[in-house]
Every structure is written in C-alpha cells, then in structure tokens.
C-alpha cells in the first residue's frame, strides 16, 4: 500500500498534524507516536502534501 500524507493546519496557518490519506488517520507531531515514527521514515524520501 502506497502511503501519502498531507499537512493539516489551523486558522493561523500553523500545521497542527498530518493526515495519512490512505486511511484518513490524523497523526500528531509526536515522537512517541508509532505512526509519526513511520511518517518520519517515509518523509526522508518523500514529500508531504501541503495543507489546504
């Protein structure tokens, strides 16, 4: 399964989490979160879609 991610931002324009588009999971910027750890590995060689 190909993973794709997109930033989610708040009204100030700050990115507040990441949306994993393949299964609509909202992933926090948290080093202890295993989904975020997986995202960091993915992001080493891939680009995250910007927030709307």
């Amino acid at each position: 399964m190909t993973l794709n991610y997109k930033f989610i931002k708040d009204f100030t324009g700050e990115n507040t989490c990441i949306l994993r588009l393949t299964d609509n999971k909202y992933i926090p910027f948290c080093d202890g979160n295993i989904d975020y750890q997986e995202y960091l590995e993915w992001a080493k060689t891939n680009t995250t879609e910007e927030a709307d």
């Binding site: 989610i8 931002k9 708040d10 009204f11 507040t16 989490c17 949306l19 299964d23 609509n24 999971k25 909202y26 992933i27 926090p28 948290c30 202890g32 979160n33 295993i34 989904d35 975020y36 709307d52």
Partner: protein, 419 residues
C-alpha cells in the same frame, strides 16, 4: 566368692558429705528410687518416662526425626527462620501484616489485559496488528491465507476456565499451501512501557533478582513452541524460552527470568517501549538461529529454528490467556482485575468513542474533546463517522481540538497510542 550384707540404711560417716562407691552399683531388676538423681556424666536408658517440663538447653541439632503434631499457639520469635522453605497449609494463615520480600500483594501483574477480557477494536479480524484484544496483537507475514485472530470465549473445561478465565486470544491458521518459509511468521506480541519495568521493583541488573512469566496456552498441534522477551532500551537483549504442548490440551507455562549484568539490561524511565513479550506459533529461519534458551543475550535472531508442523496445518488453532508477568521468583495465582479497571488501563493505549465528539464549523473557534484518561502519548485519531476533513486538529495526550467545515456533526472516533 560372693558375699551379702543386709542393711536398711547407709549413711555417710560423720564429717563426710557423701558415700562413695568405687565400683558400679548393679540394680539387677530392681529400681533406684528416691529424690534427685544427679550426674556429672551421661545418663542413658532404653526409654525415659515422666514430665520433660524442666528440660533445658536442648541443642537444636540434636532434635531430629519427625515431629509429632504440635500446638503452635505459643510459638514466638519465628522471625525469618523459615528461610527459603515454603509453608503450606490447608487452613488459614493470619498475621498482623504480610510483607513480601520482593514484589507486592496487589497490582502484581505487569501485563495489561492478560485475561483478554477487553477487546475495544472488535472480536475477530484477518489483518495483522492490533485488531481485536487490547494491548495484544497478532502479526504475520508471508502467509498464503491470512490467519484469523479472535477474542475467544472459554466454556467450562479443565484449565484456565477453572481459574476464572472466560476469554482467550486465539489464532486460527489459514491454509498455508506454500508451506513454511524463511521470511514467514505468525506470532502474538505485547509490549510493556519502559517506565513500568523500571519502576516495578525488579533489580534487572542482578542475576539474583527475578520476574516470573506465566500463561495458559493450548494448540491443536503437539510440538515444541517458543516465546521470548526482548528489551528495547540501550542495546536490545533477547531471552528465548520453549514450551512443549500436547494437542488440544491447556497447559500452564511458567518461566522464572533473572536480571542480568552481562549483557546489561536497560529500561529507561519513560513511556517508550521497554519489554516485548512474544509467543510464537511459527518463525521462519530469517528470524531464528543457534542460541541458548533461558538466558539473556544480545538480540540478533529471535528463537531457535521452529518446527513448521503447526504452520503447515490448515486451520490449526493456538490459544493464550492468563498472561502474567510479576516481580519475584515464583508464579502467584493470576491477578484477576475487574473489567472496568482493565478497560481503564487499556484506554491509556487505545480509546474508541461511539459518539459525543461534536465538532462545530467555527472559523476561529475549535471544539475540544477530552479522552477518558491521559493516554501514553499523543494518539493517532481516526474518525469513524462524521463527514469532511477536519481542520486545525491538534492532538495531545489528554484530548484533541478540531473544526469541521461541513457543519456540526457527532463524530465517533478512535485514538491510538500503542507501542
């Protein structure tokens, strides 16, 4: 020549305190009667009768043989003199206090949901990962047909049911037409936070300090299976063990595991992964190798080579329940906890809310929602109902905030912070 003197009284001479006999006095079949019998030597006899009330200074080493039934109501000063022996009784033991030398009287079990009672995600799945029983996952790869993981219900039968277990974690194997292979595996796994080991009281750098693992297990295929513990902090260490099962027979496995200095075990005082427990129906040779069982070693391979009989048996089953890991060198009875208490513990790692998270469409105002309790770390959110991409989602350990451009909606969601 014999002679005989007949008298009725012998007294010492005037000024002499006693009468001295220079030879033995033979009593024959007659008795020596009177007041006190004093001796500076040894008194021997075939038997002694009478009260021993005034016997004193009996050396403990000279009291041997089987003791008769004793009334211990007045025993004093027992202290720690039982040493390493066990005290067994069919009656009741009471005391002013009970003080374990290691471990504790309650909250002994370091495993969360070891009785497999909580299954927030569901009761069956053919996916690999956390999908049924909380805190436990079944992982597999390389299978021809996906095995099923399930929260199984136990019925009246010998084994764990008689010890109060009503649920078990079950794998039903698929039809693995390709047979066992190097990269294939099916396993159970749970992970304990590092801080829960660091704060458990286990002196894990001492080989004379122990934790004890116990669990009930049953498989439809008789063979030797493996399990293992693995540390995560510092250099990973591996502790493999084996257990042999007869087909379709519940067996209680107990393993007493020492701490270790070389190689040193490390558990940081944080919420990261600390100790992994795996119970393994099958590991292919990519994960196995030559190693000693029941000893800590630097992690490389995971277990010795596995027999593939279970893996290659279509619809083979494997059950576990009553998983307990406790500080100390013996396995105590399983620590049953209420469903509510176990659910609360599980919700540190996974929460499923069926509704109640109303998210409103305010441009500059966000709806916040608190989790039932603080989670291990900021979780991943998955919305199960309520349309539209949420904006401004910020997730913390204790809750999240969000807005929704499509209007106010009641959202069901899950929050997952597993390790």
């Amino acid at each position: 020549m014999t002679s005989k003197i007949i008298v009725n009284n012998i007294e010492s001479d005037s000024g002499v305190s006693s009468v001295t006999f220079t030879s033995d006095i033979e009593l024959g079949t007659k008795n020596l009667k009177g007041h006190n019998l004093e001796s500076t030597g040894i008194v021997t006899a075939v038997s002694f009768t009478g009260s021993g009330a005034n016997l004193t200074n009996l050396p403990a080493a000279n009291i041997t043989g089987t003791l008769p039934a004793l009334d211990g109501s007045a025993l004093t000063g027992v202290g720690a003199s039982f040493g390493n022996s066990s005290v067994n009784t069919s009656g009741i033991i009471t005391a002013t206090s009970f003080v374990p030398t290691v471990g504790q009287l309650s909250h002994r079990n370091l495993i969360v949901n070891g009785a497999m009672n909580v299954a927030q995600r569901g009761t069956s799945s053919t996916s690999s990962g956390f999908y049924t029983v909380d805190r436990f996952q079944v992982n597999f790869t390389g299978t021809n047909e996906a095995p099923e993981q399930r929260q199984a219900t136990l019925t009246s039968a010998p084994g764990p049911y008689r010890e109060g277990h009503r649920k078990a974690y079950k794998i039903t194997n698929g039809n693995q037409t390709g047979g066992g292979g190097a990269a294939k595996f099916i396993r159970f796994k749970t992970t304990i936070e590092a801080q829960d080991i660091a704060n458990s009281g286990w002196d894990y750098v001492s080989s004379s300090s122990f934790v004890t693992l116990s669990f009930w297990v049953k498989a439809s295929v008789a063979q030797t299976y493996y399990g293992r513990l693995q540390t995560e902090d510092g250099t990973a260490r591996n502790y493999p063990f084996s257990f042999a099962l007869s087909a379709d027979t519940w067996t209680k496995v107990t393993k007493t595991i020492p701490g270790n200095t070389s190689p040193t075990l490390q558990f940081d005082n944080n919420n990261g992964a600390g100790l992994i427990l795996e119970i393994v129906p099958y590991y292919g040779t990519d994960y196995t190798g030559s190693m000693s069982l029941n000893t800590w070693a630097t992690y490389s391979d995971r277990t010795p080579d596995n027999t593939a009989t279970w893996y290659e048996t279509d619809d083979a089953t494997f059950f576990i329940t009553g998983v307990q890991l406790e500080v100390g060198p013996v396995a105590t009875p399983f620590e049953h906890r209420s469903f509510g208490e176990e659910l609360t513990r599980c919700q540190r790692y996974f929460v499923k809310m069926s509704g109640g998270a109303f998210i409103f469409p305010q441009n500059n105002v966000y709806t916040s929602f608190s989790f039932p309790q603080e989670m291990r770390d900021a979780p991943t959110l998955t919305f199960l109902s309520g349309a539209g991409t949420k904006s401004g989602i910020r997730v913390e350990k204790d809750g999240f905030r969000a807005a929704n451009s499509l209007g106010p909606q009641d959202h069901a969601f899950t929050a997952e912070s597993e390790i």
